[in-house]
Symmetry: C2
Subunit: 197 residues, 2 copies
């Protein structure tokens, strides 16, 4: 059993990742939880507080997961695969759109507090991609000729778009996209059986 606060964060995150910042209201959350609108305000006086807290949680989770993997000596491919699996899991759990993608359309009108968290998460993810790609390139797990940072950015963009498209066209879109990202990194799927690493 989880606390009201945890439930607010949970449903808030789901709503945010399905409908964006301006696409959900405190009413959506309070109705789902069977409490009153003002109860949500009790925990998060302003909407920006709620969304900033959601993003802090996401960033913390990301930091912990990547640190753990990095510490336990995972290969670059394993680390990148973790991210792909994480995306697929989130999608399967009904969070259609990635956190970064869910705020971009509303970005300009967003409170500064939220903008800041959004940019921090984006920087975190891009820096991690770059790091993993660099390692993988150096030890021969990946093969590509473009600058690492540019490739990192492109992966983020492709996943962002794929996740959004997948919210309309279904999971297969996201799966195909992941497969192509691997392909462009010189990390081929074998048509059947195990992967080549």
């Amino acid at each position: 059993m989880s606390t009201t606060n945890q439930q607010i964060l949970h449903y808030g995150r789901n709503l945010l990742q399905c409908r964006g910042y301006n696409g959900f209201s405190y009413r959506d959350i309070s109705q789902k939880l069977g409490i009153k609108n003002a109860a949500v305000h009790h925990y998060y006086p302003q909407k920006e507080d709620l969304v900033a807290t959601i993003f802090e949680g996401i960033r913390q989770q990301f930091a912990e997961d990547t640190a753990r993997m990095s510490g336990s000596g995972c290969s670059a491919r394993e680390q990148l695969q973790y991210f792909f699996d994480f995306m697929l899991k989130e999608f399967d759990e009904g969070r259609n759109i990635c956190p970064i993608g869910s705020l971009i359309v509303d970005f300009e009108e967003l409170p500064d507090k939220v903008k800041e968290q959004h940019l921090l998460l984006m920087d975190d993810v891009l820096a991690w991609f770059s790091e993993v790609l660099k390692t993988g390139l150096e030890n021969g797990e990946f093969k590509f000729s473009d600058p690492v940072d540019t490739r990192a950015e492109a992966i983020l963009e492709t996943l962002l778009g794929a996740r959004q498209l997948a919210s309309i066209k279904g999971r297969g879109t996201l799966e195909r996209s992941i497969s192509l990202i691997r392909s462009d990194l010189g990390w081929k799927d074998r048509p059947s059986g195990k992967r080549t690493y």
Copy 2:
């Protein structure tokens, strides 16, 4: 000088491509044009009428442009480059986000009429990408090993994400992304001077 109707469509499209379906109101348009809210309702009784009309215009423009290029015997690379240039031009004109990307976050709550236009545009673009890629692959302009449809989908996703990211991080993001798409099609930029075709 353009008619009120044309101006409504123009600003409506800009607003749509910057803030998404739920991110702008008739008030934004009427204030910009110095008319009253209800005047916009005069031309487009419901918001869905306005947005569906905007999409019809975009689809028509796309159909005309692609037909013209196809008719005048452009190479696959030239045709694809047209699309990239079109994206950059739209971005430069202040339409931050591509039409497809601008509706995805709000997609589920969209009126059917708008959903339909959105899906039609997506199908148009994907079919055109597939056609161009197929031609280019057959005549050696492109080189890649994945299914054409999958590659077409990935290009759409990457551009969609790149355009969104570029709305925060600037034009360079979109340029880098286009460069990488070309690279992944086996269509290398030479570091300086003319392209290889």
